[in-house]
């Protein structure tokens, strides 16, 4: 939300410091300042107001109060919020107002102002609104907007000619409709709170006005509406009609009923300031259940215990003063305070602790550690899963984690990220099988011929959520029978854990995939009662290499070399040719033979090429291979 520095300054006696200091203080103590935008002689701050502070800090006055507290400055009220009878005219009839439901409309005030002239706004007003991204419309509409951005109190002005009879906050009838200012025709229902007169619907309460009652260029009399509505109701209505406005956002978050009168008076006073001939009726105020001021009891000791601090009475009193919290009583450091009406977020002692903690500064707290004198213990699943991980890893299996949602399963989502991701897996089989294919495809890049992987994860059946283990094995040619290797490793798991039954089933024989109900497997085992670090409890030092999104190209070379040449020699020779696109060099076959009394060795190896910025073409790779062939030939090796 955008705030203008000079507008904030209006509410503060001291001259505001430079932008960096304001940004830093707000960031630490209150809100994130997302952007600082210098404009000619002024600054716009884009501030992310926290949802619990929308009540006060959505307006310039509230934000200024925050800055006052952060810097221990002096607050200066804009006196135009006060009732001003100097242009009261007894001959003007006070509008008639009615509320049907005191829960959905908690307060409704109105006043009529005659002898106004609609026209352009004065420069100062235009400039302020435009600087925070608001288009200037006309002086009257701009004034209501100005009040909204000052006090966080949305205001509405009607052309008095268009209002017949009573201004009424009530629920709509099913047959009613409303044409909004932007010409949208809304069919209303009985859950929608509207403002009406005796003949028609004037607007969606707290959200948007109707087309036919707005301010026109020839308007000379206005009726002001200053009201407050149930946050939940506004939120639901705004969702139902898919209309979100500056006003609805403010009402949705809730505002104090004290703002209703301040908003009305400020609007009237501004109209008088800009239209000097204006004359006003007496105001009307329907306010069935008055707000009780927020009162909190707490002690110095409680605040210090929550924060872990040693603050003194002096610290507390000073901070409360900065926040304009009124100390009703203070007996032996037991405080009873009353908070400013807009601070609907301060109701319990923990709220006060936060205010004191942040205003004094969290950096003042001295970190301590609890003295628990014990070692934490792992939960059973993790404890035994880690033992099994150790076995699998020793046996050459690598761990994968795949997606919980997919195309098959029993439990369904109402809405997923895609239509093929709306079911929760009931088996790890599908995920691990596709991981197997992916890795077989990349086998040359991995320098492996066989892929052996496992996954631990939760699966979902109709009634239960189970923790499963799956293992999967295959080779590039899909030839090897892995059942024996798999049996051996599973037998080792049984032996190590000391269980009889594996609770496993073969998901697929080719590729070889076995899934185990791990919860059942460990069911009879005892809960761990000591902590044992695993072989992988220390994070490895790894310089991670990004994975290029482009495909690789593999080329195999097989050649005869004299017996005294080792693989290391060949590998080093290969590296003599500088090619930054070479990703791996892997030996995959070697054997020796005697021919005519001379012993020779055959080496078959694979060069893998990959670029990080493009797909390599065959032609390109063929060209890259030439220097290797030439080099080997020059050494007298016989390419097979």
């Amino acid at each position: 939300m955008k705030f203008l520095k000079s507008w904030l300054q209006d509410y503060i006696v001291e001259i505001l410091p430079e932008d960096a200091a304001i940004k830093d203080a707000l960031n630490k103590k209150a809100f994130e300042v997302e952007e600082v935008i210098p404009v000619s002689g002024d600054t716009i701050y884009d501030i992310k107001v926290l949802p619990n502070r929308a009540h006060d800090a959505f307006g310039h006055r509230g934000m200024a109060r925050e800055i006052v507290a952060d810097f221990a400055y002096t607050f200066k009220e804009d006196l135009r919020i006060l009732k001003n009878d100097s242009f009261l005219s007894p001959t003007i009839t006070t509008p008639v107002v009615a509320i049907d439901d005191a829960q959905s409309c908690t307060r409704f005030m109105s006043i009529r102002i005659d002898e106004i002239t609609v026209g352009d706004s004065p420069d100062w007003l235009k400039k302020r609104l435009e600087s925070i991204g608001q288009r200037s419309i006309n002086n009257i509409v701009d004034i209501t907007n100005y009040v909204q951005f000052s006090l966080n109190k949305p205001m509405h002005a009607y052309d008095a000619r268009s209002i017949k009879g009573t201004l009424h906050a009530r629920f709509a009838k099913a047959s009613e409709s409303l044409t909004t200012l932007d010409d949208k025709e809304l069919k209303l229902d009985e859950k929608t709170l509207v403002i009406t007169d005796d003949e028609k619907v004037l607007g969606l309460a707290g959200i948007k006005g109707g087309k036919f009652s707005g301010i026109k260029s020839d308007t000379t009399s206005v009726i002001l509406e200053s009201a407050n509505f149930s946050p939940t109701l506004i939120r639901k209505t705004s969702q139902a009609y898919d209309i979100r406005t500056d006003a609805s956002k403010r009402f949705e978050n809730g505002i104090a009923n004290s703002l209703i009168e301040e908003g009305l008076h400020m609007t009237a006073n501004l109209i008088k300031e800009i239209c000097p001939d204006a004359k006003a009726s007496a105001g009307v105020d329907i306010y069935p259940n008055k707000d009780l001021p927020g009162k909190v009891r707490f002690s110095l000791n409680e605040i210090n215990k929550i924060l872990g601090a040693n603050y003194t009475s002096r610290d507390i009193v000073d901070t409360l003063k900065r926040l304009a919290f009124n100390i009703v009583s203070n007996e032996a450091d037991n405080y009873f305070i009353e908070v400013p009406s807009e601070r609907l977020d301060i109701r319990i002692k923990e709220d006060v602790a936060e205010e004191i903690g942040r205003i004094i500064g969290y950096e003042k707290l001295v970190p301590v550690l609890p003295k628990l004198n014990r070692q934490g213990i792992l939960n059973k699943r993790t404890y035994y899963a880690n033992k099994v991980r150790e076995i699998l890893i020793t046996n050459g299996f690598s761990e994968v984690i795949t997606y919980t949602f997919g195309n098959s399963g029993i439990v369904e989502l109402v809405k997923g990220t895609a239509t093929d991701k709306e079911k929760l897996r009931s088996s790890l089989g599908e995920g691990i099988t596709s991981a197997l294919s992916l890795n077989l495809y990349n086998a040359p890049l991995l320098g492996q011929d066989t892929i052996k992987i496992f996954e631990f994860g939760n699966v979902f059946t109709k009634e239960a959520e189970e923790f499963h283990l799956a293992i999967a094995l295959d080779d590039s040619n899909h030839k090897t029978n892995f059942s024996q290797e798999s049996s051996l490793v599973l037998a080792e798991i049984k032996r190590t854990l000391g269980v009889e039954d594996l609770h496993g089933n073969t998901v697929s024989a080719k590729p070889h995939v076995v899934e185990i109900d791990f919860d059942s497997l460990i069911d009879t085992l005892k809960e761990p009662n000591t902590y044992e670090p695993t072989t992988f409890s220390n994070l490895p030092v790894v310089s991670y290499k990004s994975i290029p999104p482009y495909p690789f190209v593999a080329r195999d070379i097989a050649m005869w070399v004299p017996d005294n040449i080792t693989w290391e020699d060949i590998h080093n020779l290969t590296l003599e040719i500088h090619n930054h696109l070479i990703n791996r060099i892997d030996l995959f076959d070697t054997f020796s033979k005697e021919k005519e009394g001379v012993k020779r060795t055959s080496y078959a190896f694979r060069l893998v090429f990959q670029a990080s910025d493009r797909t390599l073409t065959d032609e390109e790779v063929n060209k890259m291979m030439e220097p290797y062939y030439e080099l080997f030939k020059s050494k007298g090796f016989e390419i097979r």
Binding site: L50, P367, L369, G396, E399
Partner: protein, 259 residues
């Protein structure tokens, strides 16, 4: 054969991180606990003081389970979700301590998979891992929370790091804080990892809201708590410079084999 039979396999970096996290917390006396990924509305939202019309409960943020309903403690209809955070384990653990009459303090960490219904890209995933820390005792304080979090990050990133608290808002904590960690790469002098600020936004924390303690059956007049949560994927990505979170979940050994 390319692969020698004695070649060891590789542990997934998420598992490595979780093992390290459990190890760090174990030394501080914190147990590791786990719990359901498919959760009822009570444990994921209500008990955490997240009101019924809170935006995080919207369809666009939460994966709701089809055709599954139960009654909540107030006898109202209540649905099921894929948990949106590991904070559900705060509630499960507190309920368990009360139910079994276990001795306080509660000191736990809960690493686990969580879900958000959002579009995925290099830094966003619909599933990812979080770790939650919870401490409930008579002596819990914000200063103690800071001590534990500093120790945690220092051990994980392998250098003495300080943290700073910024004011924030989460319905289940009061006071509520955003946690920044001093940059582990440049120690606060400014580099490309911390975008020249010296600090890295890393998690959320605060004193457990009294309503949350009460909802779990713990007397908030007698006990206080604090909780902290952060993304494990993000910690890994920062520590190792992993540039795409999705690589952690497509089963790709090109990533796993580097660990």
């Amino acid at each position: 054969m390319l692969q020698c039979s004695f070649m060891k396999g590789h542990t997934h970096p998420i598992t490595l991180a979780i093992a390290k996290i459990s190890d760090i917390f174990s030394k501080m006396g914190f147990d590791t606990v786990d719990g359901p990924e498919l959760e009822d509305e009570w444990h994921n939202f209500d008990a955490l003081n997240i009101p019924a019309d809170h935006p995080s409960r919207d369809m666009q943020d939460t994966f709701w389970i089809k055709d599954r309903k139960t009654k909540n403690k107030d006898g109202e209809d209540s649905g099921y979700v894929l948990r949106t955070h590991t904070s559900n384990l705060q509630i499960h653990t507190m309920e368990k301590y009360v139910r079994e009459g276990k001795e306080f303090p509660i000191a736990i960490c809960c690493p686990g998979k969580v879900f958000r219904n959002e579009a995925t890209d290099a830094t966003h995933e619909a599933q990812f891992h979080q770790v939650e820390m919870l401490y409930v005792a008579k002596d819990a304080s914000l200063a103690m929370m800071i001590g534990i979090i500093e120790k945690f990050f220092s051990e994980f990133f392998g250098s003495n790091l300080t943290i700073r608290l910024r004011s924030s808002y989460f319905p289940f904590v009061e006071p509520g804080n955003e946690i920044d960690m001093q940059c582990f790469k440049c120690a606060g002098t400014g580099c490309n990892i911390c975008k020249q600020t010296g600090w890295i936004e890393i998690g959320g924390a605060g004193m457990v809201h009294p309503k949350v303690l009460d909802a779990s059956g713990i007397d908030s007049k007698e006990y206080r708590g604090f909780a902290f949560g952060c993304g494990i994927d993000r910690m890994l990505m920062l520590k190792y410079g992993i540039d795409d979170v999705r690589l952690l979940y497509n089963g790709d050994l090109r990533l796993v084999n580097q660990f």
